[in-house]
Symmetry: C2
Subunit: 190 residues, 2 copies
């Protein structure tokens, strides 16, 4: 399945077989069961995760025990607690598997090593991080907008594949609306 | 004032005088008056802005005409509409000056040119973008948290200098609370 990672890198910068082998040697593959935790609040976050297969969610639990979805992750996406990963601090969010998942793990040390050794990998990660910035800005603007219909439409337009994979109540939680509101938005009469 | 930019880059990677001169030659300096727009919704966003002096805000106007603050910017910070800048698309937010400001402008083309020519500049921008990712994640978690007091305390802890610079009603808008709620949070009895 490593070709999925290679495809993603090569969308940004071409690689020789040897270069890709070298890059890939810095990753480890791990399989996770449905509901298994990948990142746990209060723990260290040694890895960023490239999703070979499966579906995950990252979420924040507030003082009242209510869960708020920060992000979803699917094949070909990256996911971790970036605050904890970049700052090498403790996680403030949880990440777990919505379905069984296969992940490529890249430690912070290996990421920095690859970026220092290969300008093209530093370029790749800068470009990917730019894209995450855009996604996070969109997420903030979506949260700031009060209109549930707009939030729903934006999510559907950006990530139509999410609606196949992710249970409705998690989409509702991501949007900050009730399951009932989501059903109304989802209805063909709207 | 260019030393402020040099200081920031050198916190991440050392530079020779010649290297800094070359980098700096890719920026242009612009002065903006209080209330002047730097980025306007619906327009192109050719530049990222490094703030030499002053204070700015970026904000989103919803369908009802209500303004929601996305971010503030102060000396030594960068600000633009990153979605529009990275994608070379039209702005979806506005950025204007809370006080008169002096900015270094870096076009997308010059940023990419510098990153391609100098590995250390690609490294600098990757690290800065990582930091913005962390700030955006914190902003999202703050928005997801329902507790106004927590949001206020987080902002005060992260950016105490903002509270000297930015009018109270803008802080309230950023937090998504009324001016009255902010005054209560701000009171010494709390």
């Amino acid at each position: 399945m490593s070709y999925i990672l290679r495809q993603q890198i090569e969308k940004i910068t071409p690689l020789t077989d040897k270069e890709f082998e070298y890059i890939f040697s810095h990753f480890t593959t791990k399989k996770f069961k449905k509901h298994q935790f990948v990142v746990q609040e209060g723990e260290n976050v040694p890895n960023d995760f490239f999703i070979l297969d499966g579906c995950l969610k990252s979420y924040f639990t507030d003082k009242n025990g209510k869960e708020h979805i920060l992000a979803f992750g699917m094949q070909d996406w990256w996911i971790t607690d970036y605050e904890a990963y970049y700052n090498q601090s403790k996680a403030t969010i949880n990440i777990d598997c919505i379905e069984k998942s296969e992940l490529l793990c890249l430690s912070f040390q290996n990421r920095e090593k690859l970026c220092a050794e290969m300008h093209k990998i530093e370029h790749f990660f800068r470009k990917k991080t730019n894209k995450r910035n855009v996604a996070l800005q969109q997420r903030i603007l979506s949260l700031l907008s009060n209109n549930a219909k707009e939030k729903y439409d934006q999510l559907l337009q950006l990530y139509p594949q999410l609606f196949q994979k992710v249970p409705k109540q998690l989409i509702a939680s991501y949007l900050g609306v009730t399951r009932e509101t989501l059903s109304r938005l989802n209805s063909p009469t709207k």
